[in-house]
Amino acid sequence: MSIKVRYFASLKELVGRSEDQLPFVGNLTVADVLKQANKNKVIPNNILAAVNMEYVAFETVVKDGDEVAFFPPVTGG
């Protein structure tokens, strides 16, 4: 029972790792996941979130087994 948390690009460098495994404790939003995994870090407020590779709002509730990803605005193309 766990949630996989992933970080990309400049956010990955900022938090100093690319992945976390959080125990699933129920009733957590995406915002809670980010906060819980990065207690002492100031996270830039333009960060985007995805659950299972789809964009989501930070209020979205996370389910067991979800992959939650955080990253800065995209700059491809």
Partner: protein, 149 residues
């Protein structure tokens, strides 16, 4: 429809030629092909750039690109689409992205290729880190809106 993420140099014109050969069903049906190629420049934001590293989110990138092309297909009549995007180390004058659209009429082809590029630039999870001539590295902050003049 084909979406391809590659980590080696590609020739966009050869990619189009080859893909077109693989879709004989549109032969005689398409009157319009609209293509966009994004190429790495040797300057950005007033600085000389000697290279770039393009990171992506494997899986999500393909999923989002697929979605973007499907959204375009709901708005315009198109026959086929090819999207190729480079990741990894890229150097000036190398192509980064290719979008090619085949349709019966030119309005649909133009609108779709532009729509896909704009959506790709704001939604597909790719991130550019530039390497300047003095070896300093910097993340590109934000893509600009390509519809503005």
């Amino acid at each position: 429809m084909k979406i391809k993420i590659i980590d080696t140099l590609f020739d966009p014109w050869q990619e189009i030629q080859q893909y077109q050969l693989s879709i004989p069903e549109v032969k005689g049906k398409f009157g319009a092909t609209s293509v966009f190629v994004g190429t790495m420049r040797d300057f950005n934001d007033g600085d000389n750039v000697k290279g770039m590293n393009l990171e992506h989110y494997p899986g999500m990138t393909e999923k989002q690109l697929q979605k973007i092309v499907e959204q375009a297909m709901q708005q315009w009549h198109i026959l086929d689409a090819l999207v190729v995007h480079r990741v990894g180390d890229i150097f000036p004058d190398e192509p980064i992205v290719l979008v090619a659209i085949w349709s019966s009429h030119r309005g649909d082809a133009f609108d779709t290729s532009r729509y896909i590029m704009e959506r790709l630039k704001s939604k597909a999870p790719f991130w550019k880190k530039e390497i300047l001539v003095d070896d300093a590295e910097r993340w590109v902050g934000k893509n600009t809106d390509g519809y503005k003049k």
